[in-house]
C-alpha cells in the first residue's frame, strides 16, 4: 500500500483529513501553513491578549484586596471563591477554544508545531491561581508568534515570559549573596537553570555539569515578576553578585546586568548540542521514536546554515525521504486523536461552537451531566448538532480521561512522546468509548465506508475496509473507523 503525499502530509504533519478541506499537495503548501499560522490570531485567550492581561490584573487585584481584608479579620470567602471560579471558567473556556482551534484551522502543520513547542516549553496551569489564566496567554503570545523564526527568539520569548518564570520558580529565586537574600532570607532555586539546559536547549547528558546548572541558575537571578502587573524585570538587588562561568564562558565579569541572562540564552541557542537536541526531538515527534540519523543530520545542517531559523529546519525535515515513508507509525496522542476524530466528521468552527454551547456551566460531575435534547432531522445534508454535556464529554473531559488534559502536563518534560506511551488497555478502552459517543452523536447521516475514506483516504488497509463494511450496525462501523490502527497511527 503506497500512501499519497497528501494523506501523509495531513496525518503526520497535520491533524488529519477533513471533508471539504484540501490537504497539502506538496512541501511548499505545508510550509505555507506555517507561514499563515504564524500570522493568524488564535482563538484563545478568549478576550484576546490585551483583554486577558486586563482580566488577570483585575482578578489579582480583587484577590489582593480580599487577602488584606482577611488579614485584618474581615475575610470574604464568597468573593474569594468567586474569583477562583472565574479563573477556572476562563481556563476551561480557553481549553475548549484550543480544541476548536486545532479542529477548525486549515494550517495543520502550524498547529502541530504549536503543540510541539507547547510541550517542549511546558508549563502547567495547575501551578497557581494566576497560571490558570496566564498559560493560554503564554502560548498565544510567547510561543505561537515565534515558532517559525529564529530559535533564539523563541527561546527568549518562552523563558522570559512570566508563565515560565512562575512555573519553574524563577520568581522566587534569589542569589544567595544578593542584597535581597541578606535582607529577607531565601536563596537560589535551580529549577529553571536546570530545565533550561536539560529540557529546553542542550538536552540531558550533552556535556554540561552540575556546576553549569548552578551557574545558569545564578546567571538567571535578578529576574523578577511583578505580582500585580506581571511585568518581567531585572532587579539588581536579587541578582547574585560576581561573575559566573557556564560551559567555559564567563558572564558578568564587569558587573552583573540584565545582559547576562540575555547573552546566556543567545549562547545556548547557538550551541551545536542545542541544534542536535532540538532536531532530534522534532524527528522523534513527527517521524519515528528512533530518529533516523540522516534526517537529523540534514536538519542540523540547515540549522547551521540558516543561523537557527526554524522554518529552514522544518523544511529540511520534510525534504527527507524517510519523513514521508509509508511505514506503520507512532501511536497518536489523545489530543491528536480527539481533534482528528472531530475533523473526520467535517466539523467546522460553527459546528464546534454549537456542540460546546452550554458547556460553560460550572463543571458538572459525570453523574449530573445529562443530555436531553430534541432531535429533528432535516432533509438537508447537515444535521443540527446537539448541545450540552456531550460536547464536554467529546472534548475536554475526554482529554482528561485519556491523560492529556489541555495545559496540564505532568512535569516540565511535558507529556510522553514515545509511541507505546499511548497504547495501553485503558487508553484503548477510552478511545473506544469516545468513538462510540462521537459516532452516535455526530454520525447519524454517515455511511461507514464513506466515513472511512473521509477519515483515512488511501491509508485504510484492505482488512480494515472489509471489517468496517461488514459491521453489524452503522454506529459500530463508524466507531471502528476511529479506533482502527490506521487512524491511531501515523
Amino acid at each position: 500500500m503506497v500512501l499519497s503525499f497528501s494523506t501523509i502530509a495531513a496525518r503526520r504533519y497535520g491533524y488529519g483529513l477533513k471533508p471539504g478541506e484540501q490537504p497539502a499537495p506538496d512541501i511548499d503548501a505545508l510550509m505555507l501553513q506555517v507561514e499563515r499560522g504564524t500570522k493568524a490570531k488564535p482563538r484563545f485567550p478568549q478576550e484576546g491578549i490585551m483583554g486577558r492581561r486586563e482580566t488577570l490584573a483585575r482578578l489579582v487585584s480583587v484577590r489582593a484586596v480580599e487577602a488584606k481584608a482577611a488579614k485584618d479579620g474581615r475575610p470574604n470567602p464568597d468573593l474569594r471563591r468567586e474569583t477562583q471560579r472565574d479563573a477556572d471558567r476562563l481556563l476551561a473556556g480557553d481549553a475548549r477554544a484550543r480544541i476548536v482551534q486545532a479542529v477548525s484551522s486549515e494550517n495543520g502543520f502550524y498547529e502541530r508545531l504549536a503543540s510541539f513547542w507547547l510541550d517542549h516549553f511546558s508549563v502547567s496551569a495547575r501551578k497557581s491561581y494566576v497560571m490558570r489564566m496566564m498559560v493560554p496567554l503564554y502560548e498565544a503570545e510567547a510561543l505561537r508568534p515565534h515558532l517559525s523564526g529564529a530559535f533564539s527568539d523563541l527561546l527568549r520569548a518562552a523563558i522570559l515570559h512570566p508563565a515560565m518564570l512562575i512555573y519553574l520558580d524563577q520568581n522566587r529565586s534569589l542569589g544567595p549573596q544578593s542584597p535581597a537574600a541578606a535582607k529577607r532570607g531565601g536563596g537560589l532555586n535551580e529549577n529553571l537553570g536546570r530545565e533550561l539546559l536539560e529540557l529546553h536547549t542542550m538536552g540531558v547528558g550533552s556535556g554540561y555539569s552540575q556546576a553549569d546548572v548552578q551557574a545558569a541558575a545564578l546567571i538567571l537571578t535578578g529576574l523578577a515578576v511583578d505580582n500585580r502587573t506581571f511585568e518581567v524585570a531585572y532587579r539588581p538587588q536579587r541578582a547574585e553578585p560576581g561573575a559566573q562561568t557556564l560551559l567555559g564562558k564567563t558572564y558578568g565579569a564587569r558587573g552583573r546586568s540584565a545582559d547576562d541572562h540575555l547573552e546566556m540564552l543567545a549562547d545556548l541557542a547557538a550551541r551545536p548540542e542545542t541544534a542536535r537536541y532540538i532536531c532530534s526531538k522534532l524527528v522523534r515527534h513527527f517521524v519515528a521514536d528512533s530518529p533516523p540519523e540522516d534526517v537529523v543530520n540534514a536538519m542540523v545542517a540547515a540549522w547551521a546554515e540558516s543561523g537557527g531559523n526554524l522554518s529552514a529546519v522544518y523544511r529540511a525535515m520534510l525534504e527527507q525521504k524517510r519523513s514521508f515513508a509509508d511505514e506503520p507509525g507512532k501511536v497518536i496522542p489523545p489530543f491528536d486523536y480527539v481533534v482528528s476524530g472531530l475533523r473526520a466528521f467535517g466539523l467546522d468552527a460553527d459546528d464546534m461552537e454549537a456542540l460546546l454551547k452550554g458547556s460553560d456551566q460550572p463543571e458538572q460531575t459525570e453523574a449530573m451531566a445529562m443530555g436531553m435534547a430534541s432531535g429533528m432531522a432535516m432533509p438537508a445534508k447537515k444535521k443540527p448538532i446537539q448541545a450540552g454535556a456531550t460536547g464536554t464529554k467529546l472534548t475536554v473531559l475526554a482529554l482528561r480521561r485519556m491523560g492529556q488534559p489541555v495545559w496540564l502536563p505532568p512535569s516540565p518534560a511535558g507529556f510522553p512522546d514515545a509511541s507505546d506511551a499511548w497504547l495501553s488497555a485503558s487508553q484503548l478502552t477510552e478511545r473506544i468509548g469516545w468513538a462510540r459517543l462521537a459516532a452516535r452523536t455526530l454520525g447519524s447521516t454517515l455511511q461507514p465506508v464513506d466515513f472511512l475514506t473521509a477519515a483515512l483516504g488511501d491509508a485504510a488497509s484492505d482488512n480494515t475496509r472489509r471489517v468496517i463494511s461488514q459491521a453489524p450496525s452503522k454506529v459500530h462501523g463508524l466507531t471502528m473507523v476511529l479506533v482502527s490502527p490506521e487512524f491511531n497511527r501515523r
Binding site: M372, S374, A425, S426, T441, Q447, N463, P472, S473, S484
Partner: protein
C-alpha cells in the same frame, strides 16, 4: 434545533417508581395531558440480523436438524414447546409466562422488502425508513406515523438512545433520552474489533488485555453489566411511557452471530427477555394491558449453520410481538419449509410476509391511523387493509 417545550418532562411518574440510576432529576415537572388508559407502542430494533430460526426453532420441520446439527435444540436441551411445531430458545424462558398469558406472539418467515445484498447498513436503513428499497428516503416510518395519529396526546414519542435513530427521525417532533451510562460492547461488536486489529500486534494486545483484566469500571466489556444496563433501560422506557410518552423506541445490538453462535445467542436471547420483561414490569398492569411491543431485525440468517458454529446473513426471520394489546400465544406466518427448493436462493428462510404489514396493523390498532395513510405515507409500497391477518382477534 432544540425546542424548549418538548424538553419538559414529568419526572414524578417514574421517579416515584424508583427508576434506575441513569435517570436523575434535572427538568421541571409538567402536568399530565394524557389519560392513564392510553395505548402505547414500542419498537425494539434488533441490530445485527437476529437469527429467527434460533429463537423460534421449527423443531418439527423434518429438514431442520440436518441443516443445523449443533444449533438445533431438543426438549432435552431445554427447548420450550410453543405450539407443537415451534419451540422457544431456552434462554428466552423468562418470556414463557407472557406466552401463556397470551401476551406474546411471534411472526415467522417475515422480512422487509430488502433483498440480495444483505448489508447491515442498508438493511437497517430500510427497516427504519419503512421503504421498499429506496435509499433516498431518510426519514423513519415511526416518525412519519406520528403526524397521522388522530389524537394529539398520543403523538409524544421518545428514542432511548444517545442520539435520534433513523426510525424516529423526520419532520415530526420526537424526543431523545440520552442514557448516562454507556452500554457494554455487544459480543459481535467485540468480535469485530478483534478482526479489526488482526495484523497490528500492539492493538491486538491492548484489546486482549482490556477484555481480560475486565476494565469493567465502565462495563464496556462486561456481559453481566450489560444485562443490568438493559434492564435499567427497559425500566426507564416504561417510566417514560407511564408519564407523557406514548411511543418509544430503542435498540439491542449484538445479533451478528457468525461465529460460535451457541453461547452468543444464548446471551442475546437472555438480554431480549430482560428488555421485554422489564418493560412489562415498569409499565405496570394498567398500561401494559394496552401496550404493543414490536421487536424487529433487518433480516434473518442462513438456514444452514456455517463452518464456525454460526450463521451468516439471510433473509426471512422472526418478529416478536408482546404486550397486553397483542392477541398472543400464537406463532403467526406461513411456514414455507426448509427443503432446498423451498429456501430463498437455496440459502435463506423464504420470507412469506412483509414485516411492514405487521407494523402497519399494530399502528392501526393502537392509534387508529387509517389504512390509506399507512400505505401512502408510512409504508410506501405496502398493501394493507383491515382484512390483514394481524388484525384478526
Amino acid at each position: 434545533m432544540v425546542k424548549p417545550d418538548s424538553l419538559l418532562l414529568s419526572r414524578r411518574g417514574f421517579l416515584a417508581s424508583a427508576c434506575c440510576a441513569a435517570a436523575l432529576p434535572v427538568l421541571t415537572p409538567v402536568s399530565f395531558a394524557a389519560m392513564p388508559g392510553d395505548n402505547r407502542f414500542i419498537t425494539i430494533i434488533l441490530r445485527g440480523a437476529m437469527d429467527g430460526l434460533d429463537l423460534v426453532q421449527p423443531y418439527a420441520d423434518p429438514v431442520f436438524r440436518s441443516l443445523r446439527p449443533t444449533l438445533a435444540l431438543t426438549a432435552e436441551d431445554g427447548l420450550l414447546d410453543l405450539d407443537g411445531f415451534f419451540g422457544l430458545h431456552p434462554a428466552a424462558a423468562p418470556l414463557m409466562p407472557l406466552w401463556q398469558a397470551k401476551e406474546l406472539s411471534f411472526v415467522h418467515a417475515t422480512s422487509t422488502p430488502y433483498r440480495d445484498e444483505r448489508s447491515h447498513f442498508d438493511g437497517q436503513d430500510i427497516l427504519e425508513t419503512g421503504s421498499t428499497d429506496d435509499k433516498a428516503l431518510r426519514t423513519g416510518w415511526l416518525n412519519r406515523a406520528l403526524a397521522l395519529i388522530p389524537r394529539s396526546a398520543s403523538r409524544k414519542a421518545i428514542d432511548i438512545n444517545t442520539s435520534m435513530e433513523l426510525i424516529l427521525s423526520g419532520p415530526n417532533e420526537a424526543d431523545v433520552w440520552s442514557t448516562q451510562s454507556d452500554f457494554a460492547l455487544a459480543a459481535d461488536e467485540l468480535r469485530f474489533l478483534q478482526r479489526l486489529y488482526t495484523g497490528d500486534a500492539g492493538f491486538e494486545k491492548a484489546l486482549a488485555e482490556a477484555v481480560q483484566t475486565d476494565l469493567a469500571a465502565d462495563g464496556i466489556y462486561n456481559g453481566g453489566k450489560r444485562g443490568a444496563a438493559i434492564a435499567d433501560m427497559a425500566k426507564l422506557t416504561g417510566g417514560l411511557l407511564r408519564a407523557d410518552y406514548r411511543v418509544a423506541s430503542f435498540s439491542l445490538n449484538g445479533w451478528d452471530t457468525h461465529v460460535n453462535q451457541k453461547s452468543q445467542f444464548r446471551q442475546m436471547a437472555r438480554d431480549l427477555s430482560t428488555a421485554i420483561i422489564g418493560l412489562k414490569e415498569s409499565l405496570g398492569p394498567q398500561a401494559w394491558a394496552t401496550t404493543v411491543v414490536v421487536a424487529m431485525t433487518e433480516f434473518g440468517r442462513t438456514a444452514r449453520q456455517n463452518g464456525t458454529g454460526g450463521t451468516d446473513h439471510g433473509t426471512g426471520g422472526v418478529a416478536i410481538l408482546a404486550g397486553g394489546g397483542v392477541a398472543g400465544g400464537r406463532v403467526l406466518g406461513q411456514w414455507p419449509g426448509l427443503s432446498e427448493d423451498q429456501l430463498f436462493e437455496n440459502r435463506d428462510l423464504m420470507p412469506t410476509s412483509d414485516l411492514r404489514e405487521l407494523a402497519a396493523a399494530m399502528l392501526y390498532r393502537q392509534f387508529d391511523i387509517t389504512p390509506t395513510n399507512l400505505t401512502a405515507k408510512v409504508f410506501p409500497g405496502l398493501s394493507f387493509d383491515k382484512s390483514s391477518v394481524y388484525l384478526r382477534a
